[in-house]
């Protein structure tokens, strides 16, 4: 009984947990509404989900205004500016995905209520991820965001492609998490504790040992899968192609961001002392990812698949700063966060346009974009902005993201960093080559099938488009906006 009495109630900072709880509440609400009203509640679901996401932003804002850094459970769960920024990013991305989903899910043969439940659950996992600073939390958060995503990928139940997408995603995801877990077990074994601080202390000191190398490597590989880094990317194109398009957007943006967030925390908090492992690892992985992703993308004919490979390559860009994680930690985090924020909007925007166009053409082939500029100039311009942003051409947002990479690399300096910078430069060029193929179709080619009826953009899609377009341009013209977030996150992540 002594033992039982010894239990001290953990001190919970409810304000810090308010975002998670709000999200949880709305998830539960949706489930309950679903159970009670069943079919009749369908109309309300997206609204509810959207409200849930927006409502969750409220405590985030209050926390941000409050500004104090909150740490619980001995540093296992931290709410700081970094986590808040990313939580907000997840929620906004989620909101845009919900907007994208409204018509798509309603018009298709889908389980609608559960769709939103799972979406919110996955987002809950992501929101959790950005605060997690220990192995168990990270692991659970990862699974919490992944498992619903596996199912969402297979959500088009009658579609063999969607099923297959789900299976591939699931199996590869589980493989990867097995490897990651094994790595975590080794890391845990060396540190004897799960919190990142402890791990950093243990790994950062002492001579190199192969178990540490192995542990770190396996953990990183697990997340490299999540961010679809080559050679762990193989699931991504197939899954993206097969999954329902809003889910694809969700995977390409939110899920990848979550993986990156986990990597940031692991690399910059836990493993920073082992730069002899992380820097070469990320050098190789990022270079491979960019190059392979871009090269394969050159040969794609399906727009979603093209965006999938583009996403892989973008992931490669995001991994670049990790290659100088130890040499220029502040700039590296900043670069990744900035990239994530901009990437979220530009990529979601591109997917929104794909959705909007597919509503008319019912096709995912790039050829079907022929002459888009003639009959849907607005969409064509929007797509142009998004693709330009992805390619990193000012004044569309992406340039600042790429700029951040270069900045981190050059801050670190040295031959390897400069070499990677050149690889990035070359890849920027290759990337434009395939973005240009879409541009070419939209602008230079005649209308496909001669069908030039205009495209009706639904309200929700229009809203998604507006949000992403404005954000993308704003980041490009006034990069200070996003740059500010990046800077904030640096201070806290390193401080905490």
């Amino acid at each position: 009984m002594d033992v039982l009495l010894a239990f001290t109630r953990p001190s919970l900072d409810w304000h810090a947990l308010a975002p998670e709880l709000t999200l949880l509440a709305f998830g539960t609400l949706i489930t309950i509404v679903d159970i009670i009203w069943d079919e009749r509640s369908k109309q309300a679901m997206p609204t509810l989900a959207g409200m849930g996401l927006l409502a969750t932003l409220v405590p985030i804002l209050t926390l941000a205004v409050d500004g104090t850094e909150r740490s619980m459970f001995g540093g296992a769960y931290v709410v700081d500016d970094f986590s808040l920024v990313l939580k907000a990013l997840f929620l906004i991305s989620g909101y845009v995905v919900v907007l994208m989903s409204v018509d798509y899910i309603r018009d298709g043969d889908y389980y609608e209520n559960e769709y939103y439940t799972l979406m919110l659950t996955s987002l809950l996992g992501m929101v959790m991820m950005s605060s997690s600073r220990d192995l168990i939390s990270v692991f659970v958060a990862l699974e919490l965001l992944s498992i619903p995503a596996y199912m969402l990928a297979a959500w088009r139940k009658g579609g063999p492609r969607s099923n297959e997408a789900g299976l591939k995603y699931y199996l590869m995801g589980v493989f990867a998490s097995a490897v990651m877990l094994y790595g975590m077990s080794l890391v845990y074994g060396l540190a004897g504790a799960t919190s990142f601080d402890a791990i950093a202390q243990e790994l950062g000191s002492g001579p190199s040992n192969p178990v540490a190398v192995l542990g770190i490597l396996f953990v990183l590989i697990g997340f490299a899968f999540k961010v679809s880094a080559v050679p762990f990317h193989t699931w991504a194109p197939d899954t993206y192609e097969g999954a329902p398009t809003p889910v694809t957007a969700f995977l390409a943006v939110a899920s990848k961001t979550a993986g990156m967030v986990a990597l940031i925390q692991l690399v910059f908090v836990a493993f920073l002392g082992r730069e002899d492992v992380i820097q070469p690892f990320f050098w190789v992985i990022s270079a491979l990812t960019m190059t392979v992703g871009n090269l394969i993308a050159l040969r794609q004919t399906n727009i979603v698949r093209l965006l999938a490979y583009s996403g892989i390559a973008q992931g490669g860009f995001m991994l670049v700063p990790f290659a100088v994680a130890a040499d220029a930690p502040a700039r590296a985090i900043e670069a990744v966060v900035i990239y994530l924020a901009i990437y979220a909007f530009m990529n979601l925007g591109a997917f929104t346009v794909v959705l909007a166009v597919a509503r008319k053409t019912r096709s995912g082939e790039i050829d079907s974009y022929g002459g888009l500029f003639r009959y849907a100039p607005g969409l064509a311009v929007a797509m142009t902005v998004f693709l330009a942003a992805l390619a990193g051409i000012p004044p569309a947002g992406g340039w600042f993201a790429k700029f951040g990479l270069f900045r981190a690399l050059l801050d670190a300096g040295g031959g390897w960093a400069a070499g990677l910078a050149v690889v990035v430069a070359v890849n920027t060029v290759i990337a434009f080559a395939y973005y240009a193929r879409v541009l070419t179709q939209m602008w230079f080619q005649p209308v496909a099938d001669g069908d030039d009826r205009p495209i009706v953009v639904t309200g929700a899609l229009g809203a998604a488009l507006t949000v992403t377009l404005l954000a993308t341009m704003a980041f490009g013209v006034l990069p200070g906006l996003v740059g500010h977030f990046g800077e904030v996150s640096v201070l806290s992540a390193l401080g905490g």
Binding site: L167, K168, L171, M172, F175, A176, V179, S208, P210, V213, L214, L217, F218, I221, F225, P231, F232, T234, W235, P237, D238, D276, V277, P280, F281, V292, N294, L295, I296, A297, L298, R299, I430, A433
Partner: protein, 733 residues
């Protein structure tokens, strides 16, 4: 002195005329009346030029204090070096001391009329033209005797050509443009001659080249004309490399573009910068060769006869082609020091000039086109001038330039008049017997020919005599080879002009239609020019000639007024004494040329039928001419005399080598271009770019193989890479 200081007005007038004609010619003035504008402008130019000339003479006669150079001490030092050389000259000076050497500036040690004080040119500069590196460069005018001489020449000839052209190109469809570009040319030429700095020289140089291009290609519907225009321009461009580089070398050496400064600097310290000056002079010689038709860049000039005849008279005989000669004269210290005119036996300039004079004369024999004969004659005469400059006979060269302008212009206009009468042909084989139909043309033509041949007392006699004398005496060393060249050319000149006159005006008329005398508007200029051809010599008569008339004060006017002694004084030039012997020899040579030719044509004396007997001659002849008049092959005469090898060889070389060089150069450049474009640009460079793109594309295709779609393979890749990475890192780290 107002005119001298504001000389810029002179080129401005024709420039305005150009703009007016071009912009308003067709619409407001009327296409058939634009010549009024041009002629008015030129009249004004002539008056102002005359005024300038007068004011210059005043300046020389009554120099204002600031116009006289007070010699700096170093000039005296320099003078000592040459004191011995000049001692003889001074001792020999009899009557008329115009020897301008450095040591006699401080007064007129030798008494007698007008010893020349060193008169500064009038230099006016306007505003800042351009600036670079903090240095401001002005545009301005430099007016001295040489300038005003050229002003007079250009203004006179241009005015006459303007007048002449009203008839000659009447009803031409591009009458307006014709006059516009005549005006522009005049403006450019005037601008050129009063250039204050060498950049202005380039500007004028190129502008006259362009006008020449436009006017040669005036009838651009026919390809040969445009070919000729292109050839002229491109050949000049080749020479311009030399001009550019030469001027740059001068800039690099003296850090100034100012002509006055450059000349003064060299004159002040001859011998310094010898290497730079040598390079500069050689480069500039290339430019001179191209512009003034010197060997081996002379080939464009005969082709340029494709332009209207008055244009040939103005540009390709009297003015533009002497630009090279003018430049040498203008920058004489550069050439003098650079090519060591004063010391060595033979220099590049003298040789090129002499050689050009020779082959020009030789080639003139082989032509049937009257204009081409005249063109080669021009080449030859320009060679004469360059040779004169090369032997140090500055004044002689400029004097010859002066006289030559008039009689050659007259000859060209005469040829134009003939062609006007004879159905626009220039082929002498379609002329003949025009003497009676065209009395004015005939008479003026003969007068000018005599002047050209150097027959006493026509203008050419005096100037040619001075050149021969210059070659005889030379500067310090003699130039015997040049003298030989000069003498031979004198004979040949007389001979080929006689041939022209024979074929054109004597014998039977072989053309079509009825020839008639040209209208007054054409003959008047002819007469004026012919008049000048007669009297132009008086401007530089040697003293002994005038002595009997008590007019020795008027002797050597050109030398007095024109020679820029302020620049030349430091060089140690001397003026040879007039020599009656030389004059007689020169005259004899000319007469003999005429006589031989006369006998050949009029009396049928000579070696007709040579070609039938002589294999070489036949071959040579076949090459030269394979249509008509075998019997009359004038070359036979030459073949049998010393000229045969020269003429034949020269022609062969000229046609086969030199002339082809231009074409070949063009073709080669184009072939090279094609080759480079095809293999290097499109093949290697662009090819590698495209290959990189293709490489990326196909490697993308290859990498797609990874994406087999099979979960097992994906798993293998995942775990396999994990294993490999693990192994590598465990080993390496």
């Amino acid at each position: 002195m107002w005119m001298l200081e504001n000389a810029f007005i002179i080129p401005l007038i024709p420039a305005i005329s150009f703009v007016v004609i071009l912009l308003f010619g067709k619409r407001f003035i009327g296409p058939d009346r634009v010549h009024v504008v041009g002629i008015t402008a030129l009249g004004l130019v002539w008056v102002l030029s005359a005024l300038a000339a007068f004011q210059w003479t005043q300046r020389v006669e009554h120099p204002p204090p600031d116009a006289v150079v007070q010699m700096a001490s170093h000039a005296d030092d320099h003078a000592d070096d040459h004191a011995d050389d000049h001692a003889d000259d001074h001792a020999d000076d009899h009557a008329d001391d115009h020897v301008v050497v450095s040591e006699n500036n401080s007064g007129d040690a030798h008494g007698g009329g007008h010893s020349s004080p060193l008169i500064r040119p009038v230099i006016s500069t306007f505003s800042q033209w351009w600036s670079n590196g903090g240095i401001e460069f002005s545009v301005g005018t430099l007016v001295d005797g040489l300038t005003v001489l050229l002003l007079i020449v250009v203004a006179s000839i241009s005015l006459l050509v303007h007048i002449y052209s009203t008839e000659y190109v009447k009803d031409d469809r591009r009458y307006v443009h014709y006059y516009a570009f005549l005006s522009l040319f005049t403006a450019a030429m005037l601008f050129f001659v009063m250039a204050q700095n060498i950049v202005q020289l380039i500007v004028g140089w190129e502008l006259v080249g362009v006008c020449s291009f436009v006017l040669i290609g005036h009838w651009w519907e026919e390809k040969p004309n445009t070919d000729a225009a292109l050839k002229a321009f491109l050949t000049n461009r080749v020479g311009d490399i030399g001009l550019l580089v030469g001027i740059i070398v001068l800039w690099g050496t003296f850090q100034t573009f100012d002509i006055d400064a450059i000349n003064t600097l060299i004159a002040a310290d001859p011998g310094a910068h010898h290497l730079a000056l040598l390079v500069a002079a050689c480069c500039l010689m290339a430019a001179v060769a191209s512009k003034s038709g010197q060997f081996p860049l002379h080939t464009w000039l005969p082709d340029a006869m494709a332009g209207p005849t008055p244009v040939s008279a103005l540009i390709h005989a009297a003015t533009m082609v002497v630009a090279g000669v003018y430049m040498i004269a203008r920058l004489y210290p550069v050439f003098y020091e650079g090519l060591s005119v004063g010391t060595s036996s033979i220099n590049l300039m003298a040789f090129i000039g002499g050689f050009t004079a020779l082959i020009g004369a030789a080639l003139a024999f082989a032509q049937w086109d009257i204009k081409k004969v005249l063109a080669y004659s021009t080449v030859s005469q320009l060679g004469y001038m360059v040779m004169a400059l090369g032997v140090g006979a500055w004044t002689a060269a400029i004097f010859h330039l002066f006289t030559h302008a008039f009689f050659k212009a007259c000859l060209f206009l005469g040829a134009g008049s003939v062609s006007h009468a004879a159905h626009h042909t220039f082929d002498m084989r379609k002329m003949g017997g025009l003497k009676k139909d065209m009395p004015h043309t005939y008479r003026t033509f003969v007068i000018s020919s005599l002047a050209l041949a150097g027959i006493f007392p026509f203008a050419g006699f005096w100037s040619k005599d001075e050149i021969l004398l210059g070659s005889l005496v030379g500067q310090k060393n003699s130039y015997p080879l040049m003298l030989i060249f000069g003498c031979v050319v004198a004979v040949m000149t007389a001979a080929y002009m006689t041939r022209v006159i024979w074929y054109t005006f004597h014998g039977e008329f072989r053309g079509e239609g009825h020839p008639h005398e040209s209208p007054k508007m054409m003959t008047t200029p002819l007469w004026i020019l012919a008049g000048m051809a007669v009297i132009a010599g008086v401007f530089n008569l040697p003293g002994p000639v005038l002595e009997p008339f008590g007019l020795e004060g008027l002797a050597h006017r050109i030398q007095t007024y024109v020679e820029p002694s302020v620049y030349l004084s430091g060089l140690g030039l001397s003026h040879p004494d007039p020599s009656l012997t030389m004059a007689l020899v020169g005259l004899a040579l000319a007469v003999s040329g005429i006589v031989v030719t006369y006998l050949y044509y009029w009396r049928r004396v000579g070696l007709h039928g040579m070609t039938e007997r002589n294999r070489y001659a036949k071959n040579g002849y076949t090459f030269l001419e394979n249509k008509y008049y075998l019997d009359h092959l004038y070359n036979d005469v030459i073949v049998e005399t010393v000229k045969r090898p020269i003429a034949n060889w020269a022609n062969r070389v000229n046609q086969n080598v030199l002339d082809r060089v231009v074409d070949r150069a063009g073709e080669t450049a184009r072939d090279t271009g094609r080759w480079i474009y095809k293999w290097i640009d499109q093949g290697a460079i662009d090819g590698s770019v495209n290959a990189a793109a293709r490489g990326a594309d196909s490697s993308g295709e290859g990498l797609r193989a990874i994406q087999s779609g099979k979960i097992q393979n994906y798993g293998q890749l995942l775990f396999g890479s994990a294993a490999v990475l693990a192994i590598v890192f465990v080993i390496v780290v």
